[in-house]
Amino acid sequence: MRVVERKAQSGTVLDLHERFDFGARGTFKEAVEKVRQEACSHLIVNMQGVTFMDSSALGLLVVTYQNFKRVNSKVSLLNPQGYVRQVLDLANIPNMMTVYDSESDALSAVPVAAVA
């Protein structure tokens, strides 16, 4: 999996590409850790380019969500497609993390910390 980090005024976007599976865990964790150390208040995981996602990737997303929540930061998902969307829906992830269809909506969302 390829991960590209983009900084925006109200958060950080991680563009994920290709397969998000067990083999991509290290790449994703590394990218997230970098963002976390920068005290990012809103991490937007852009899933538009993800073609496949397995259960270990799902677990990693939720651990990331829980870790950010613990420090009053927020994790959102952007534009999951097809099969990836099905996996997220089956696990009821949209009830846990906000899933946006547009990046501008995601970036204009008020992070948890700001609400608090």
């Binding site: 259960s55 677990g59 939720v62 651990v63 099969y83 829906d89 696990a91 009821n92 846990m96």
Partner: protein, 412 residues
């Protein structure tokens, strides 16, 4: 757990420091004495033999580092001795210098082809002797080092092979234990038939299932999928299954309500720090009324089949266990009819790809379940798994595969 008692590689002894031994094999006593003096002056231990046979015997006994061998000798000549030394596995790395007055090409070629490593003109010049012996001993030191490293590698390989054998035995033993926890196919409850296929992708899998009477009227059953494969997920699956044993399930919630049970399990089994978790489909069948109550935590919906024309999904989207502390799982209800077949499975059976990348998906599994609806239950389960194999055009699966079938019949 078994332990392998083997010495670590580091304990393999380094070669002992002993004086360098040079064996002179020559039938001319003057040459032997001359060489002996020169070599002893250089600090070497020198031993002597007067012909090839004697030289071979002494070499076998003393294992010299280097031999200086005359070409022409009675009984066994120099080239024959060289060939014999190189053919002996214990002596083949001995450096052989052949003494000869003849340095034409054919002569040298024959000497090299029969095992000589170097040549020395006869009578030997002291400086040339010292230089050639030094060069030969350097080569010998290198081969000794290679021999030592090879020895270390052989010891390491033996140790690793032994450790691997013990690990494999432990895994097989654990695998047999897991298999012993699975329910017997047949009729676990009057009026309910059970058949299944369980194919862990490694020796130990993260998928697990069970079916057991919870009391005289209730049959409890579930299939769970612990993310990952191997020992860790298998241990987590087996420990979670302990909460769902007949004697434990009442203590968990004081009810047989699947939603309540999963809500409690979710609190007991949080997501691990590296993101591993469990999905589960849990059902409880009340036998007298054939009422199935079920709940699911992020697990694929079960399939209810009745003949080739009726199929429906029993499940609902839901968070896997441990994703959130306060998840309350809901229970749904379904009254079963005669001939209803309930298929439980994990995603490994349908998330498979054909060689050209097409995914079988739930739709493929649903078709296969319907196509096999008129077969005996055990045959139907076998046929569905065979169709999955046919789809991916190979016999083994990348993920754990579990497919369970329950059939309610008229004898209840």
């Amino acid at each position: 757990m078994s332990l392998v008692a083997v010495d670590p590689v580091a304990e393999l002894p380094e070669p002992a420091v002993v004086p360098v031994t040079i064996l002179i094999v020559d039938d001319d006593p003057m040459v032997r004495v001359l060489l002996e003096r020169q070599l002893q002056r250089l600090g070497y231990r020198v031993i002597q033999a007067t012909n090839g046979h004697e030289g071979q015997a002494l070499a076998a006994c003393e294992q010299p580092d280097l031999m200086i061998v005359d070409w022409m000798m009675p009984e066994m000549d120099g080239p024959t001795l060289c060939a014999a030394i190189k053919a002996d596995p214990l002596l083949c790395h001995t450096h052989l210098i052949m003494l000869t007055a003849n340095h034409d090409l054919a002569h040298v070629t024959e000497g090299l082809s029969r095992g000589a490593d170097d040549f020395l003109a006869k009578p030997p010049n002291p400086k040339e002797l010292a230089a050639r012996v030094n060069a030969g001993l350097r080569a010998r030191a290198l081969t000794r080092e290679v021999e030592h490293v090879n020895q270390q590698l052989n010891v390491s390989y033996t140790q690793l092979a032994e450790k691997q054998r013990v690990v494999d035995e432990d895994l097989q033993s654990a695998s047999r234990f897991v298999a012993s926890l699975l329910p017997e196919p047949g009729e676990p409850f009057p009026g309910v038939r059970l058949a299944w296929e369980y194919l862990p992708s490694m020796t130990l899998g993260g998928d697990f299932f069970c079916a057991a009477p919870w009391d005289d009227e209730h049959l409890g059953f579930y299939v769970l999928d612990m993310s990952g494969h191997g020992v860790g997920p298998c241990l987590r699956a087996a420990s979670l299954s302990m909460y769902l044993r007949t004697d434990a399930v009442r203590r968990l919630t004081h009810s047989f309500d699947p939603g309540e049970i999963l809500s409690e399990l979710s609190r007991l089994c949080p997501l691990t720090s590296d993101g591993h978790y469990c999905t589960i489909w849990l059902g409880c069948l009340h036998l007298p009324t054939r009422t199935l109550r079920f709940s699911s935590a992020g697990h694929p919906a079960a399939l209810l089949v009745n003949g080739p024309d009726h199929i429906e999904s029993l499940g609902m989207p839901g968070l896997p266990l441990g994703f959130a502390d306060d998840t309350e799982y809901v229970t749904q209800e379904k009254r079963l009819r005669d001939g209803d077949r309930l298929h439980l499975f994990s995603d490994g059976i349908f998330e498979i790809e054909s060689p050209d990348g097409a995914v079988w998906d739930r739709s493929g599994l649903e078709r296969a379940c319907q196509d096999s609806a008129n077969l005996l239950l055990a045959d139907a389960i076998g046929q569905v798994v065979d169709k999955a194999r046919t789809w991916q055009e190979r016999g083994t699966f990348d993920d754990d595969v579990v497919l369970i079938g329950f059939e309610v019949n008229g004898t209840a």
